[in-house]
C-alpha cells in the first residue's frame, strides 16, 4: 500500500501541535434555550415542522428517558454530565434549508474546506464531477443537515438520500415503518435521549434491486459551544439492493466536553447489503485530558432478510470518551455481519468499543477484526458479544482482536462475551496483546527511518486487514489520521 508513504509525507506537512480541526466557525446560530423539558422537545419538533405523530414519538421517548439512569461503566471515567446545561437545538441561522450550493453560507463551505477532509468531496461540493468514484454528501453541521449533493441524480435511480427531517416530512410512511425498529426508543439511556431530541441526520432508502450508483457520505461536525449533537441516521436497503455509506466526524477544540449521542439504524432486507464506514476524529481533549467529545453512540444493523449482509468498518482516533458497539442482528437465514475496527487512543482518551453479533437465523456468519492501539495515558477496551440462539444452527463466527501498546502508561483490555446455545454453531475467538518489538524498531531504524516513521509504518501494517475494508477515499485519510494520532507517542 503506497499510501503509507503518503501518510509519512502528510505528517510532515501538518502542524500537529494543535488539533488540526480545532477551530471554530463564526456563523450565526439559531439556538433553543439551554436545558431539557417537554417544551424543548416540542420546540425541536415544531422547528423541524414535524407531524403530530413524530412529536408524540419524541415526547414518549422523553418521558421514558426521565425514568432511566445513566449507565456507569467499569472502565470509563468522566465527570457527571449536567443534561440541563446543554443546548439541545442549534441550527445555523439560514432558513429554509439551501436548495443549492450557491445558497450555502460561505462560512460553512469554508469550514468544510478547513476540515481538510476529502478533496474529492470538496470538488463534488463545488460541482466538479470527478472521473473516479463519486460521493454524495449529506453534511450535518451541529445538528442540522445543510446540504445534500447529487440528490437529483440519486433520485433517478430511485435512491432517497436526504436529511432525516426532510424524510419525516416527505416519506412519513417509510420513517414510521422503520424508525426505532432496530434501536427501540427505550434501548438505552443515550438512545432514548436521542429519540427525544434528535435534530437531524441522514436518511437513505435504496429501492429493491438497486445498486446505489455512488458512495453516500455524511460529515458531522460539532461547532456550537455546549451543544449536544444528537443525529439520527436511518438506512434501509430494500431487497437485493446495495449501498456503501461513509461517515466522517470532527469537532473543534474546546475546553468543555461536548456530548455526542447519535443513533444509527440499518435495515437490510432479503439479499441486500449495507456497508457502513466511519472515520471518527472528534476532538480528543488536550494534552492534560481537558475537553474533548463524549461519544456515546448506538449503532445497530438488522439483517432482517435472508442472505442480507451488513458490514461495519470504523477508524476511531478521536473523542475523549468513546462508547460504541456497532452491532448486527443476524435475523435472516444465511445473513452475514462484519465488524472491522481500528481504535487508536492517545493522551487521556478512553475507548470502550466493540460489537455485538447476535446470531438468530440459520447459517448466519459473522467476522470481527479489531485492532486496538493504546498510547500515552489512554485506556483502550474491546468489548464484544457473539451469541448464537437456539435456532441459529450452522452459525459461524471468527473473531480476532489484537492490541498494541505503545508506552507503559496506557492500558489495553479485551472483554469478549461468547455465548452459544447451539451445538452446530462454531465460534472461534483469538486475541493477542503485544508491543512493537525492539528488534522490529531497530531493524527499521537501521534502514534509515526515524522513530515516528517506524512506528507509523509498523502500526499501519498492524491495522492493514481493516484498512483494506475501507473505500479508497477513506483509507488514505485513515492512514493519515493514524499517524497524526500517534504523534508524540514514542521517545
Amino acid at each position: 500500500m503506497p499510501a503509507v508513504q503518503e501518510t509519512v509525507e502528510r505528517v510532515k506537512a501538518i502542524d500537529v501541535e494543535q488539533y488540526k480541526y480545532g477551530f471554530e466557525t463564526t456563523i450565526e446560530m439559531d439556538k433553543a434555550p439551554k436545558g431539557l423539558n417537554e417544551d424543548i422537545v416540542r420546540l425541536i419538533s415544531s422547528k423541524k415542522g414535524e407531524p403530530e405523530w413524530m412529536t408524540e414519538w419524541r415526547l414518549e421517548a422523553f418521558r421514558r428517558w426521565q425514568t432511566m439512569r445513566e449507565p456507569k461503566w467499569a472502565r470509563v471515567n468522566y465527570p457527571p454530565i449536567d443534561y440541563q446545561e446543554l443546548y439541545y437545538y442549534a441550527a445555523p441561522k439560514k432558513n429554509p434549508a439551501p436548495k443549492s450550493l450557491d445558497e450555502v453560507d460561505p462560512e460553512i463551505l469554508k469550514t468544510y474546506e478547513k476540515l481538510g477532509i476529502p478533496l474529492r468531496e470538496q470538488e463534488i461540493l463545488a460541482g466538479v464531477e470527478g472521473a473516479g468514484s463519486r460521493v454524495a454528501v449529506d453534511a450535518v453541521f451541529d445538528s442540522v443537515s445543510v446540504v445534500t449533493t447529487f440528490k437529483e441524480e440519486l433520485k433517478k435511480a430511485g435512491v432517497i438520500f436526504c436529511s432525516i427531517s426532510e424524510a419525516i416530512r416527505e416519506y412519513p410512511e417509510l420513517v414510521r415503518k422503520y424508525l426505532g425498529s432496530v434501536v427501540p426508543v427505550s434501548d438505552n439511556f443515550f438512545a432514548t435521549l436521542n429519540s427525544a431530541v434528535f435534530t437531524d441526520g441522514s436518511f437513505v432508502y435504496i429501492p429493491e434491486g438497486v445498486r446505489c450508483p455512488m458512495e453516500l457520505s455524511t460529515y458531522f461536525r460539532i461547532n456550537e459551544r455546549n451543544t449536544g449533537q444528537f443525529e439520527r441516521t436511518l438506512i434501509i436497503a430494500d431487497k437485493g439492493s446495495y449501498v456503501s455509506y461513509l461517515e466522517g466526524c470532527t469537532a473543534p477544540a474546546r475546553d468543555e466536553n461536548q456530548l455526542h449521542a447519535a443513533v444509527v439504524e440499518l435495515i437490510a432486507l432479503d439479499d441486500a447489503e449495507i456497508k457502513y464506514s466511519t472515520v471518527q476524529n472528534w476532538y480528543p481533549g488536550d494534552a492534560e485530558g481537558k475537553g474533548g467529545v463524549y461519544n456515546f453512540v448506538t449503532k445497530r444493523g438488522d439483517c432482517r432478510g435472508a442472505n442480507s449482509k451488513i458490514s461495519w468498518t470504523q477508524v476511531e482516533t478521536g473523542s475523549a470518551i468513546t462508547w460504541k458497539y456497532p452491532s448486527c442482528i443476524l435475523r435472516g437465514d444465511n445473513s452475514r455481519g462484519e465488524f472491522y475496527s481500528i481504535a487508536i487512543s492517545n493522551g487521556y482518551q478512553q475507548v470502550d468499543s466493540g460489537t455485538k453479533m447476535i446470531h438468530l437465523g440459520k447459517n448466519t456468519t459473522s467476522r470481527i477484526i479489531s485492532k486496538g492501539i493504546a498510547a500515552g495515558r489512554s485506556e483502550n477496551t474491546y468489548r464484544g458479544l457473539v451469541s448464537a440462539h437456539r435456532k441459529a444452527s450452522g452459525a459461524r463466527n471468527f473473531t480476532n482482536c489484537d492490541s498494541l501498546l505503545i508506552g507503559d502508561k496506557c492500558g489495553a483490555h479485551t472483554v469478549p462475551y461468547i455465548e452459544s446455545k447451539n451445538a452446530s454453531a462454531v465460534f472461534e475467538h483469538e486475541a493477542t496483546t503485544s508491543k512493537i518489538s525492539d528488534d522490529q524498531m531497530f531493524y527499521c531504524l537501521q534502514r534509515g527511518l526515524d522513530e515516528e516513521e517506524a512506528v507509523a509504518l509498523i502500526v499501519n501494517g498492524f491495522v492493514k486487514d481493516v484498512l483494506q475494508q475501507l473505500p479508497m477515499e477513506f483509507a488514505v485519510e485513515a492512514q493519515k489520521l493514524i499517524s497524526i494520532s500517534l504523534e508524540g507517542s514514542v521517545g
Partner: protein
C-alpha cells in the same frame, strides 16, 4: 430516578438469620469473630450474586439458591461417611478427611505426616487464634468475592497445613471431602497451605457426594507459596448430582515458584470453581487446566483471575468443557497485567464441545493489560464434534458412539495430560471414560 432497593429473596433473609443465630457458636473470638462479621456484612449488603453482577453474569445464585441450608454439624457417623468416598482411593497419599466439611481425625493420617509437614485442625486453630491464620485472605483480586466472603463468615473447620522451608514432601497430601446426609445442609471448610521457601509439595483434592439430600458446599483452599517453591495440585469435583458446589482456590506465588493446578468437574447441579492467583515474586510460572463434563441440566462455571503484579512471570491456562443434554458451561478467565509487570507472558485457552442441540456454553476470556512489554493471548472456541473426523473414524469401522467417545477423550485428554501424578491422571481419565460410557 430513585435508587432501587433490592428485594430480599427468602434465601437471603434466611442467610442473615442463620448467621445471626450461629455467629456466637462458630469457633474463634475477638479478631476472628470480627472477621466473620466483616465478611458477612458484604453478603448482607449485596445479597446473593445475580446476573446483574458482572462477575456472576452467567451464574445467577439468587435464582438458583432457593433456600439457605443450615450449616452442617459434625456427623455422628463421620468415619463411616468418609469410608463411602472412592475418589483417589488408589493414589498413594497421606490423607486428611473431611465429613460435611469437618475434619475427621480417625480417618486422617495426622500421626503419620511426612517430615516437614504440620497440620492443625482449623476449628482448634480458630479457637486458639493460631498465628498461621494471618496468612488467610491475602489475595487482593479475591477480596469481596461472594463465595470467599461466605466461607470466611461461616468457616467451621478445615486445616492449617505448613510445609517447612526446603522440604521436598515425598508423599502427596490428599484432602478428601465427603459430603452426605439425609436432610439439606451447607458446608464451609477452609484449608490454608503455607509452603515455605524452597519447599515442594503435591496436593490432591477430592469432593464427593454420597448421601441422599441436596447440599450446598462452599470450600476454600488458600495456598501461600514462598520463593522457589513447587506445588502440584489436582482437584476432582464429583459432588452429588443435586448439590450446589462453590469452591475457591486462592494462591499467592512467591519468586521463582511453580504451580500447576488442574481441576476435573463431573458433579453438582450447579458448581462454580474459582481460582484467584497473584504473582508476588518474579520469574514464577503457573499452569492451570480444567476438564469439565456436563449433562442433564448441570451448570458448571469456571472463573479465573490471574494477577500479574510483578514482572517476568508466565501463565498458561487450558480449559476444556464438554456439554451434553441441556447443560450449561461457563468459562470466565481474566488475565491482569499490572503497570510494572513487564515481560509477562500469559496465554489462556478455553475450548468447548457441545454434544447436544440444547447445550449452552458461555465464554468470557478477558485481558486487562497495563504494561507494554508483554505477550498475552487468549483464545476461545466452541463447536460440535468434527463431522469429517467422525466420518473418517466410522468409515474405518468404528460405531458412531465409539467414534464420538474417542474424539471427546482426545479433546479432554489435552487438559488431563497436565496432571503430573500418574495415578491421579489415570483416575481422571478413567472417570472421563466412565462419563462417556454413561452417554446414551
Amino acid at each position: 430516578m430513585a435508587e432501587i432497593t433490592p428485594i430480599r429473596t427468602a434465601a437471603e433473609v434466611a442467610l442473615v438469620e442463620r448467621f445471626e443465630d450461629l455467629k456466637d457458636k462458630l469457633p474463634g473470638s475477638g479478631e476472628i469473630a470480627r472477621g466473620r462479621d466483616e465478611a458477612f456484612a458484604l453478603i448482607a449488603a449485596a445479597g446473593l450474586p445475580n446476573r446483574r453482577v458482572e462477575e456472576w453474569k452467567y451464574t445467577d445464585l439468587r435464582s438458583a439458591v432457593r433456600e439457605a441450608a443450615p450449616l452442617a454439624e459434625r456427623p455422628a457417623d463421620a468415619a463411616a461417611l468418609v469410608d463411602k468416598g472412592r475418589a483417589f482411593a488408589k493414589v498413594d497419599a497421606v490423607r486428611l478427611s473431611f465429613a460435611n466439611g469437618h475434619l475427621v481425625a480417625e480417618r486422617s493420617d495426622l500421626a503419620a505426616l511426612p517430615a516437614g509437614v504440620t497440620v492443625t485442625p482449623l476449628a482448634a486453630a480458630l479457637a486458639e487464634g493460631h498465628p498461621l491464620l494471618a496468612e488467610m485472605g491475602k489475595v487482593a483480586v479475591a477480596k469481596g468475592n461472594f463465595a470467599l466472603a461466605l466461607n470466611s463468615a461461616f468457616m467451621m473447620d478445615g486445616a492449617l497445613i505448613k510445609v517447612a522451608a526446603g522440604t521436598a514432601v515425598d508423599k502427596a497430601l490428599h484432602l478428601r471431602f465427603v459430603n452426605g446426609g439425609a436432610s439439606p445442609f451447607a458446608t464451609a471448610p477452609r484449608i490454608v497451605i503455607l509452603v515455605e521457601d524452597g519447599a515442594s509439595v503435591t496436593v490432591h483434592e477430592s469432593h464427593e457426594g454420597v448421601g441422599t439430600a441436596a447440599y450446598q458446599a462452599n470450600s476454600v483452599v488458600e495456598i501461600v507459596a514462598g520463593n522457589g517453591t513447587t506445588i502440584t495440585h489436582a482437584r476432582l469435583n464429583a459432588e452429588q448430582a443435586d448439590a450446589i458446589a462453590l469452591s475457591t482456590l486462592a494462591v499467592t506465588l512467591g519468586a521463582e515458584a511453580k504451580l500447576t493446578s488442574l481441576g476435573a468437574v463431573t458433579g453438582g447441579s450447579l458448581s462454580r470453581h474459582q481460582v484467584f492467583l497473584a504473582f508476588a515474586g518474579e520469574h514464577s510460572s503457573l499452569t492451570l487446566g480444567g476438564a469439565t463434563m456436563l449433562r442433564g441440566r448441570q451448570h458448571a462455571d469456571t472463573t479465573l483471575v490471574v494477577d500479574h503484579a510483578v514482572p517476568h512471570c508466565d501463565s498458561r491456562e487450558l480449559f476444556k468443557t464438554v456439554i451434553d443434554g441441556e447443560a450449561t458451561g461457563v468459562f470466565q478467565g481474566k488475565i491482569i497485567v499490572r503497570p510494572d509487570a513487564q515481560k509477562t507472558d500469559g496465554r489462556m485457552m478455553s475450548a468447548a464441545l457441545l454434544l447436544s442441540e440444547t447445550a449452552t456454553m458461555n465464554n468470557k476470556p478477558e485481558l486487562e493489560i497495563f504494561a507494554d512489554d508483554v505477550q498475552c493471548a487468549h483464545g476461545a472456541t466452541c463447536g460440535e464434534l468434527d463431522d469429517d473426523l467422525l466420518f473418517y473414524l466410522t468409515a474405518r469401522g468404528l460405531p458412531r458412539a465409539v467414534a464420538e467417545a474417542l474424539l471427546v477423550q482426545a479433546f479432554l485428554g489435552e487438559a488431563l495430560e497436565l496432571v503430573e501424578d500418574e495415578a491421579v491422571r489415570e483416575e481422571l481419565v478413567a472417570r472421563a471414560e466412565g462419563w462417556l460410557g454413561e452417554r446414551t
